[in-house]
């Protein structure tokens, strides 16, 4: 067996993975070749130092319980709404969530704009104005608030 053939088998020889026949041929070569013996010694030294790594810590207490708990939770039937939500593609769920956040944000901004436009003077006046929805009086034409006022003005006689 040549040095090249032996070199390609040294790892398997070290790990006891060679057939009996190949092992014998490698050992025959090693008995005659100092260079290949050195190569084996180098591999063996690299393998030996791996024993210097610390032993892993013990498995954390309750590991099996946590795994089983997660398995049980996954197996539990979910509410219909949750199942329906999860049935939508991810992109659609992201878009819906973004639209909801945007809607809430815009609504908050608009409410803030309307209340800032009509500051209150006294608590009694405040209450009356609040009841009459006076603070909405300055709502811009075409806005949601303006539309609301238009819709409700007939029902409450203009707030009186």
């Amino acid at each position: 067996m040549s040095c090249r053939n032996v070199a390609s088998r040294l790892n398997a020889y070290l790990d006891g993975e060679l057939s009996a026949q190949d092992r014998e041929r490698v050992e025959q070569h090693l008995s005659e070749c100092g260079r290949c013996r050195e190569a084996l010694a180098r591999l063996r030294a690299a393998a030996d130092v791996l024993g210097q790594l610390p032993t892993p810590p013990a498995v954390s207490e309750g590991f099996a319980g946590r795994v089983v708990a997660r398995a049980r939770l996954r197996a539990r039937p979910q509410p219909v709404v949750v199942e329906l939500w999860r049935s939508f593609p991810l992109a659609r769920r992201i878009a819906a969530a973004a639209a909801l956040v945007l809607g809430i944000g815009l609504g908050t901004l608009m409410a803030g704009d309307v209340t800032r436009a009509s500051p209150m003077t006294s608590s009694a006046d405040d209450a009356a104005a609040l009841y009459r929805l006076d603070f909405l009086a300055d709502a811009p034409e075409g806005s949601l608030v303006d539309a609301y006022l238009t819709l409700t003005s007939g029902a409450n006689g203009g707030g009186e």
């Binding site: 791996l50 790594l53 498995v59 398995a71």
Partner: protein, 178 residues
């Protein structure tokens, strides 16, 4: 005592008690492999837990063509390789910044420095070389078992181990020089 295959069959039928028994029986193997591959306790716990859940998901399709232990190593290794290939292991994060001279006799210090060098050398290996080395040296798997665990040929395992050991030998030689 029920065999692994019997427990898997029971787990496939929804028996969580059987699944729990399977986890307790093999948690050490899964944890050790994950810890050595990832070098971080929290990541290893996540990976080991995920591995068992994947095993449960596949329980109905499980066929004992190899030992359950080899099958579990396959699941753990592939999960860990995914994580390793996304980021480097963190053995080095757990090492002290510099060895302290107050640690005791020179021999202890030398041993600790040597262990640190081994950790760094292992940490520096490409993910698949490191995986082959861990499965061979620490989990004691045969080449065929490593090949099944990693989804590669036996020849590939030999090559991975050869390269890993050469790299280790080179780095450790540099360390010894000094």
């Amino acid at each position: 005592m029920a065999s692994d295959e019997e427990l898997m069959q029971a787990a496939a039928g929804g028996d969580m008690g059987a699944f729990g028994d399977l986890v307790r029986r093999h948690q050490r193997s899964a944890w050790n492999a994950a810890w050595r591959l990832l070098g971080d306790a929290a990541e290893a716990e996540d990976a080991a837990q995920d591995a068992f859940l994947k095993v449960l998901d596949a329980a109905a399709r499980y066929r004992p063509t190899a030992s359950f232990r080899t099958y579990l190593y396959r699941v753990v290794t592939r999960l860990c390789l995914d994580r390793m290939e996304k980021k480097r292991p963190r053995y080095v994060d757990q090492l002290p910044a510099t060895p302290s001279a107050d640690l005791g006799p020179p021999e202890t210090l030398a041993r600790r420095e040597s262990a640190d060098a081994v950790r760094r050398a292992l940490d520096a290996l490409p993910a698949r070389q490191r995986a082959a080395l861990v499965l061979r040296h620490y989990e004691g798997l045969r080449y065929q078992e490593i090949a099944e665990a990693m989804g590669v040929s036996v020849k590939s395992v030999e090559r991975l181990l050869a390269r890993a050991r050469e790299s280790l030998a080179d780095r450790l030689q540099e360390f010894r020089r000094g």
